[in-house]
């Protein structure tokens, strides 16, 4: 074999792509030819050098972002709630379950409400009834209020998965609980205000929703549902570009940093635009790490762990 031919085949030879016959001819030639051996070692060095390009890690939020894109394209008329709910879900996942009595019904209900398809409408209603019957044994207003909050939480956490009828049913339960809660008509007023605002948000009337929520806030400051009123106000605010990966991660971090306190959560969420710059300083790595739970399955496990864990602690 001539040098020119051998040199042309050296790369393939190194890649193990030369035929057996050619490979042995090349080896023979290399043993005798200094120049070609030098070329071979040079090609080897190139491969060695090429190994210096370290792989990058894809964002932990990759799948979540992809899913958001898939959803937003599949349902063009989707409301802002759908885009927000993955966030809301993570937010509320961190809020420790306040009420022990609610948890069992909560998970039972989640099981039937969680899916889009409705294989057993009967089971669905039965489970909701069990949530409701727990409400009927609520000892006092405080218990009833906690259940109202629990339903609110459930609506927010699973909002994008609830069918319209399930959603309506939850609203009814919430109202019934507020009434059962006792003498204080404030509860019902706040619940109804919140529900009307949610409906407006679903319909895309953000301005109307905000106005309504501000009214509720004015008339009933310091109500246990107030943090949710304020969060609903955030939901009624047009969100930053959904493609903004950085913001998504920043949100995730902030939401996780504020677990356990919806009020603090609200403050954090609303001040995000001002905090983006701070977050940059705060450290990209840490943000990425904290956003690890953006994987829906992990987020789901997180929900379970936090709430069940919270239940165990409060026993």
């Amino acid at each position: 074999m001539r040098c020119k031919k051998v040199q042309k085949m050296l790369t393939g030879f190194l890649d193990g792509e030369a035929s057996l016959k050619n490979a042995s001819l090349i080896r023979e030639h290399l043993a005798a030819c200094e120049e070609c051996s030098r070329r071979l070692s040079e090609a080897r060095k190139v491969m060695h050098w090429a190994g210096a390009w370290q792989p990058v890690e894809s964002s932990p939020a990759f799948l979540t972002r992809l899913k958001a894109r898939i959803r937003s394209e599949a349902e063009p008329k989707t409301s802002i709630l759908t885009l927000w709910f993955p966030r809301a879900r993570r937010v509320l996942a961190g809020v420790p379950a306040a009420c022990v009595i609610f948890s069992a019904g909560y998970f039972a209900a989640v099981q039937v409400l969680g899916g889009r398809d409705e294989p057993h409408p009967g089971a669905r209603v039965a489970k909701l009834d069990s949530v409701q019957s727990k409400g009927s044994v609520a000892a006092d207003r405080a218990d009833a209020q906690r259940l109202v909050l629990g339903v609110q939480k459930m609506k927010m956490v699973f909002g994008d998965k609830l069918t319209e009828s399930a959603y309506a049913q939850l609203n009814e339960i919430q109202k019934a609980l507020a009434v059962r809660g006792g003498s204080d008509s404030k509860d019902l007023a706040v619940v109804e205000g919140l529900q009307k605002a949610e409906l407006l948000i679903r319909q895309g009337d953000y301005a109307g929703a905000r106005q309504l929520l501000e009214g509720v806030e004015r008339e009933h400051p310091e109500h246990p549902l107030s943090p949710y009123v304020r969060i609903a106000k955030v939901l009624a605010t047009p969100q930053p570009s959904p493609g903004s990966d950085f913001l998504n991660r920043a949100y995730a971090t902030l939401l996780q940093e504020t677990v356990g306190d919806p009020s603090a959560l609200y403050n954090e969420v609303t001040s995000i635009p001002q905090q983006v710059a701070q977050l940059r300083d705060y450290g990209w790595e840490r943000i990425v790490k904290s956003a690890d739970r953006l994987n829906p399955l992990n987020a789901w496990n997180f929900v379970e762990r936090r709430i069940l864990g919270g239940e165990a602690e409060s026993r």
């Binding site: 060095k45 990759f62 992809l66």
Partner: protein, 215 residues
């Protein structure tokens, strides 16, 4: 809830079939398996992390939308890489120029190769680490400066460890053409390697490469 009870099909192809039949968790699993690979493959074409992630996202979006066009007789990996190769082509067609416009500096803004990261790495002395990073940066520049077709073949062959046969099917040419593109790429890289300072290459690992730099 109850997810643990599901028995997961293990091969990519089984997952893809499950996904075509409506299992979204199978899709998630495929994305989890392939997102890093596809992102890295694209990253080595475009040398810009954010762009690479966007293109990788587009790739999986296409997998989702075109699931019914998947032929289970073929490997899923070939299919998804083929989509990624086409997405890169579309990207460059849109740019109408090769990413000479994207500087390596810019791609570093992702914070992946910051000085800090080099210094806290800890495995090398700072000097050795810096020359290693230098070698990496020069390599990225060298690969990015290859013509698109050569770059494609080189990255598929070297980083994705595909055979010439597989690459040929993927990019739509003969294995012989793959061989000559790869050879041309290696030749060009060798020329750049010769201009690399000796310490940069030797920093990669021990004594390797010193004589090349001299040559």
């Amino acid at each position: 809830m109850g997810n643990e009870a599901e028995i997961r099909p293990s091969s990519d192809e089984q997952l893809m079939v499950a996904f075509v039949n409506g299992s979204e968790s199978a899709f998630d699993e495929l994305v989890n398996r392939y997102a890093p690979k596809i992102t890295n493959f694209v990253y080595r074409q475009v040398a810009h992390f954010a762009t690479a992630e966007e293109i990788a996202q587009d790739t999986f979006l296409a997998v989702f939308r075109k699931k019914h066009t998947y032929n289970p007789d073929y490997r899923f990996s070939s299919w998804v890489y083929k989509i990624a190769v086409n997405m890169c082509r579309m990207h460059f067609r849109k740019l109408k120029s090769l990413p000479a416009t994207v500087s390596i500096e810019e791609s570093r803004e992702d914070g992946r190769v910051s000085l800090d990261a080099v210094l806290v790495d800890g495995s090398d002395s700072p000097v050795a680490a810096l020359s290693r990073k230098d070698a990496e940066q020069r390599l990225q520049e060298a690969i990015v400066s290859l013509p698109l077709k050569q770059r494609q073949v080189f990255t598929l062959s070297f980083y994705e460890e595909m055979s010439y046969e597989e690459i040929a099917r993927l990019v739509g040419c003969s294995p012989g053409t793959v061989a000559s593109r790869k050879h041309a790429a290696v030749k060009k890289l060798a020329a750049k390697l010769r201009r690399l300072p000796a310490e940069a290459l030797s920093s990669l690992s021990g004594a390797a490469g010193a004589d090349v730099a001299e040559a």
